[in-house]
Structures are given as structure tokens and as C-alpha cells.
């Protein structure tokens, strides 16, 4: 009896037969906006649906079907971040970016070095989302960041995750988190300035 009831409840709330039709494009775009990788995004959508099917009995109906599926996808994206930023490349990538960092500020007194001083973009008071060129450069510059930095940056600024969650999931200390947040922004801004003419 219990089993029948469970299936009935689940069937009322979840319609897995409709998932591809209703959510595949949305989840694909969501994954792509966070990974910038088409093939990976396709895999993530598939993994999300399969994981959701396996966990169907755990769905309690507290959130909507789409919110529930997005949450599963989010966790899968974090797994990707973790894998990508923990390999052999991680140290090298971060070292390169940190070396570049020395140039931004004078090592002695922390002044901006002349070549890297921020200059106005001339659009500081516009709605940046309307500026296609700015968006294009921003996305390009984000892709140049070391994977760990981009993961921290995206989780914080796109997904508004708590600092604690980010530190736990990506295995960084709170002190290191703030260093990454700072360095990422200085790098990103400098990259924008270099391309913005």
C-alpha cells in the first residue's frame, strides 16, 4: 500500500516524461552560462535528469519541479568546478596569475603601478547589460581566469552562494577566499581596460 501511495504522490508532483520538453533547454543554458562548455553542458543536463530519476523518492514537493532539478544541476556544476580546479593544472595556473598580480601594485607601498591604474570606461553610470561589447569583453576576460578563481567568482556573484558554502565546497580557507575575490576583480578589471578602447 505504502509503495502505491508513494508512486501516486510522486506522479502528481513530478512528470519525468515531460522533463526534456519543459526543462532541457533551460538547464542547458544554465549549465553553459556557468561552464562555457557546450559538450560539458549537454552531459550535465543528462546527468541531472538521470540523478533526478534515481532520487525521485526523495522529492518531497517542498519546491517546484524546476527548482528541484536546478538544484541538482547546481550541485553537479560544483562537482565540475572542484574537479577542474584540483588537478595538476591548479597550482601552475594560480602561480601564473599571481605573478601577474605583482605588477598591479608596487610591492613596497601598495600604490597602483602607473601602467595598471584604473581609467574610466565611460559607461560607469549606464546599464551595463545593454552594452553588448562590454558583455562580450567581460565574458572573454572571465574565461581567462584560473579555474579556481572563476569558480569562486561565479558561485559568489552569479549564484549568490554564501562564503561558507563556497569555502567548504571548493576547499579554500576564508582568508584565501578573500584573497581570491580581490585578485580576481583586479585581474578582470585590468583585462577589461586592456580591451576597452
Amino acid at each position: 500500500m505504502q509503495v502505491n501511495n508513494d508512486i501516486k504522490t510522486v506522479n502528481n508532483l513530478l512528470e519525468p516524461q515531460q522533463w526534456v520538453n519543459k526543462y532541457a533547454d533551460y538547464l542547458y543554458a544554465y549549465a553553459f552560462s556557468r561552464t562555457n562548455d557546450e559538450e560539458q553542458s549537454r552531459d550535465l543536463v543528462q546527468e541531472t535528469f538521470l540523478a533526478a530519476l534515481q532520487g525521485i523518492s526523495k522529492f518531497e514537493g517542498r519546491s517546484s519541479e524546476s527548482t528541484w532539478l536546478t538544484a541538482i544541476l547546481k550541485n553537479k556544476i560544483i562537482d565540475v568546478y572542484r574537479k577542474k580546479s584540483s588537478g595538476l593544472n591548479k597550482r601552475k595556473e594560480v602561480e601564473d596569475a599571481e605573478f601577474e598580480q605583482h605588477d598591479f601594485f608596487d610591492q613596497e607601498d601598495g600604490h597602483w603601478n602607473v601602467a595598471y591604474r584604473p581609467k574610466s570606461f565611460g559607461i560607469e553610470h549606464e546599464d551595463p547589460i545593454l552594452n553588448k561589447e562590454f558583455i562580450r569583453f567581460l565574458q572573454m576576460c572571465m574565461q581567462k581566469l584560473p579555474t579556481l578563481w572563476l569558480s569562486v567568482f561565479t558561485m559568489k556573484h552569479m549564484d549568490d552562494e554564501s562564503t561558507k558554502t563556497i569555502c567548504d565546497e571548493l576547499n579554500v580557507t576564508p582568508a584565501n577566499f578573500w584573497v581570491i575575490i580581490h585578485r580576481t576583480k583586479v585581474n578582470l578589471r585590468a583585462c577589461l581596460q586592456k580591451n576597452w578602447k
Binding site: A24, D25, A29, F32, S33, L50, G110, E124, I129, H157
Partner: protein
């Protein structure tokens, strides 16, 4: 050099505080230090404006039409649908 004077001239520290202030909390002392720095440093004021601009843009990135109109290929969807149908049959 005392501590206040040090931050008043230290752009690296000031930009760090600008970042921390936007997404976390900084102490009252740090707030005052930053205010003093920014009142005298036009370069870091530009940095702050642009940092806010970048954060605001990234926050709204997913709302862009380029993501809203993204579609998976039909073939991939068809295969995915078949796979899901198969899985559903297995569990029932």
C-alpha cells in the same frame, strides 16, 4: 608610518576592502580607513565604480537573450527522452 597613514596611501589594501565590503562585512575601523583613502584617491574611486559595475553585470548575466534563446539539438533531446522513458519503465 602609523596605521591610518599607511592605509591612506595603500591602494592594494583599499581595493581589498572595496571587494570585502561589497559581499561581506568590514569593521568600523576599516570603513573609516577606506573612506579616508577614497576621499584622497581618485584612482581607487574609479576602481570602486567599475567593481560595482562588474558585480552588477555578472549578477544579471543569465538574464541575457543569448542564454534565453539557447536550445539543445533535437537529436540529443530525442535520445535523452528515450533514455528517460527506458529508466522510468525500469523503476515501475
Amino acid at each position: 608610518m602609523n596605521r591610518l597613514k599607511k592605509i591612506a596611501y595603500n591602494c592594494k589594501k583599499a581595493t581589498f576592502l572595496i571587494e570585502k565590503k561589497q559581499i561581506g562585512t568590514i569593521t568600523l575601523r576599516e570603513k573609516i580607513e577606506l573612506k579616508i583613502h577614497l576621499s584622497g584617491c581618485v584612482i581607487c574611486r574609479i576602481f570602486q565604480q567599475q567593481s560595482i559595475l562588474i558585480n552588477r553585470t555578472v549578477k544579471n548575466l543569465f538574464q541575457l537573450p543569448q542564454y534565453k534563446t539557447m536550445k539543445l539539438e533535437d537529436d540529443f533531446k530525442k535520445e535523452l527522452q528515450q533514455r528517460i522513458d527506458k529508466e522510468i519503465k525500469k523503476t515501475l
